[in-house]
Symmetry: C2
């Protein structure tokens, strides 16, 4: 069992990672982080250090560039109990459409999905 989350340097991505670590602690389970592929070496090192500091069992999976597919696949392969995703807050005039990546994850996930916002 594991919690699956992507590694994105956006505020939504950071919120998702923080929520995933909290859930992993509460559920006493591992974390699988899917790299989005765009990380600098510094960002990858910061992630590794952050996960080590959190004291959680974790694994970083190299992404293919399609984060939605990667998260669903990682969840299937690891028998995950949860995927955590970050959503943008809607602006006051925001359109009523979720991003297609978020929709694909929600529809195709083999497990529950926790959607958080910054």
């Amino acid at each position: 069992m594991a919690i699956v989350v992507g590694h994105l340097s956006t505020v939504e991505g950071k919120e998702a990672l923080a929520a995933a670590l909290t859930e992993a602690r509460q559920r006493d389970t591992d974390v699988v982080v899917v790299s989005s592929g765009g990380e600098t070496p510094q960002e990858s090192a910061a992630l590794a250090s952050h996960l080590a500091d959190a004291g959680l069992e974790h694994r970083v999976v190299e992404g293919t560039g399609d984060l939605a597919d990667d998260l669903v696949r990682a969840a299937s392969e690891s028998g995950a109990e949860l995927i955590v995703i970050g959503l943008r807050r809607r602006s006051p005039v925001g359109k009523l459409i979720l991003g297609s990546g978020a929709q694909r994850i929600l529809l195709d996930a083999p497990c529950p999905v926790l959607a958080v916002k910054p």
Copy 2:
């Protein structure tokens, strides 16, 4: 703090309610159930009995018929920590669109949203 969930007699609704009760137990928090308005007296009685058996603090809020709005409002008013919703499983030829109610909840929720599937 509370977990907010709708009361629907569909398989997705039942899955959401079961997940909400599990989360409420794990987090030791209350449950706010939003009635969808279409319940028979028997269904309402079964819900009350189910919640009492679960041994959780709970409150049933009468819905207005727009469950998405009702869930978001109930979450805001109760300072909820989580909304739980049930999503349909996509069929093999299923369209790549989430229901507009689910999208509104995800976009407008003042708190994290847990999406589960039967």
